[in-house]
Symmetry: C2
Subunit: 360 residues, 2 copies
């Protein structure tokens, strides 16, 4: 019987909004005190605090975020915009971001640009309207004009999975040139003489860098540019990979090996090759990028370039929140991780034994 009724005692649905004012009245203090209980509990006497907290519970009060934001000039929400929500790489990053953000009491406004500059711009505008405290952005283009729009407004921006030469902003990235070199280098070292590089829009920095790395490996192996055929597809998903593989099959002899700019593309390529009776890796070796969870379980376990995905999200968020908490004392830094090649069957020319590599 003494169990506290949440909401209010007047039967029926709670209509009248309960704000800081109602709480104050109920607890017999002033609204200012309630606000202090919420924001600087140490400044209010223990007994009053307890009374107020009790009232808060009894009335089922929840703070009005818009009012706080309006008053404070900024919310306690950060924006996260990724290139593609359907890509496990980015959902892993997002997990890292969410974990850190929620540890520090921030909410995350998650959006996807779907690799479209226009959608990126639209979402940035939403972020701006919501007065987010800061933004984590994986930019579509290389210029980052959209990011500048925010920076100019005084909103901290950390570039995610995108290095920056500019010293006036933070960035967290993985060395994609090194990754491309690693992958192509391995294929060449295994004896491949002709390569295909399946990639998304060259406007995507990730694609451009991985290509650059592949070319570097090519040069190091004493081969010319013509030894690598490039297939550009409009998106970075499995369907696009299938399309690329079909193009590959239709036109002339197959290359010795295929390097894909990400695992989704590689899985698509793999599927079509196998359907066409092409043996992987015997006829064509294959390496992907990102080492998403599914690569290990593919028809032929996929070799891939692994990145510290979750860490990427964590570090970026820590950097961002550091800048938010102390904009002046904050020193911008550009963090660059090194990728790691995970070799599985799809690129193993000789052995076809069951993968014995890292368990994970």
């Amino acid at each position: 019987m003494s169990a506290a009724h949440h909401w209010n005692e007047t039967g029926g649905t709670t209509l009248g909004t309960v704000g800081i004012k109602q709480v104050a009245e109920h607890a017999g203090v002033s609204p200012g005190t309630v606000s202090n209980v919420l924001n600087r509990p140490e400044r209010v006497a223990a007994t009053t605090r307890a009374r107020v907290e009790q009232s808060i519970r009894e009335l089922g009060f929840v703070r009005n975020g818009s009012a706080s934001t309006l008053r404070a000039g900024h919310s306690s929400t950060i924006g996260l915009m990724v290139l593609d929500l359907a890509n496990p790489f980015f959902t892993d990053v997002a997990r890292g971001v969410e974990d850190v953000a929620s540890e520090r009491g921030y909410a995350v406004l998650l959006a996807s640009s779907a690799e479209s500059g226009e959608r990126e711009q639209r979402n940035i505008r939403v972020f701006a309207e919501q007065r987010v405290r800061g933004v984590l952005l994986t930019p579509v283009g290389d210029e980052g004009q959209n990011a500048d729009r925010l920076s100019d407004r005084g909103v901290p921006v950390v570039l995610l999975d995108h290095p920056t030469p500019r010293a006036n902003q933070c960035s967290v990235a993985v060395d994609d040139v090194a990754g491309g070199e690693l992958a192509a280098g391995r294929l060449l070292a295994d004896g491949a003489r002709t390569l295909a590089f399946v990639t998304g829009p060259s406007a995507l920095r990730q694609c451009a860098d991985r290509r650059k790395g592949a070319l570097r490996a090519l040069r190091a192996a004493g081969l010319g540019r013509e030894a690598m055929r490039e297939l550009t597809v409009p998106a970075m998903n499995a369907r696009a990979g299938q399309e690329a593989a079909r193009r590959l099959l239709e036109s002339g002899p197959l290359p010795d090996a295929v390097f894909c700019a990400n695992d989704l593309l590689a899985l698509g390529v793999l599927r079509v090759l196998l359907q066409a009776g092409v043996k992987v890796p015997h006829d064509v070796a294959l390496i992907g990028y990102d080492d998403i969870e599914f690569s290990a379980a593919a028809a032929v376990p996929l070799s891939s370039v692994r990145q510290p995905t979750y860490q990427l999200g964590r570090i970026a968020t820590e950097l961002l929140l550091e800048e938010c908490d102390d904009p002046d004392g904050h020193a911008h830094q550009q963090v660059m991780f090194q990728p790691e090649l995970v070799v599985r069957d799809s690129s193993r020319r000789e052995a076809h034994r069951v993968e014995g590599g890292r368990p994970q």
Copy 2:
């Protein structure tokens, strides 16, 4: 030279916030008029409107969402909470949601409960603080007390991937009992006499329903409950699937077939079975659930129960926004889709030919 400087003309960074007031002054009108230009353009004379819009552009004004929200009592944002962001099923749903929401001018606050009731509660609180206009929720438990917290506050809630018996709310779901029956029925029809059911926490309705369907198929085949061994794992991901498969291998003879409550589990199971030298489907047939993109590209292409994922997100959002726009005239409805079995190699006892099914 006449190119409009965005932001303001005073060199340096824009510090002073530019609000409706500054725009009004710059355009020589009152703040109310600017507001009208933004919200009911038809009520303001063409020439004034043009002048105001010009000022908006020149000053780089963006509306302060918190102020709008405060004034209106609710924002133009909807909350979406899914069980697991790492599951392609939910990212597909999220795409559907985002598309409809952005068509209608709403932003989406995307969160993941990670199948944890506590995280669900925390995120719901964030939604409440942000005064979201409505919420799409895939509840962790069956009770939906968290959802009620919102409904009681007058926030429309649509249950996503979760049917409801209650007539006072909308829900959109796929018939998981039918799906489970479909999958298990096929395995039994193909000759299996013993089954294993690999599933997540039974508190998840999806798991419970699919199990119920499987049992129903069992009964229809004239078999007893004991013909189906149940393996419950704490999460619905590939790692958990691997764990389940190991348990399966360690203990006694293998079942004729394995039915997994989702594809991530199935991929994990598949991987461990293959590593252990178990032939799929020859030794053990396997069917998953969700038909995620990667299932078709798995080591053995995975049979699976397909759901209209993207549509699920779209319909749910349309229902929600309909309720938001007209809370009184809105009639709650419970939408139930029927799933579809996609047969691939993993459950085909005889033929091992390359999949010739639907292209997709």
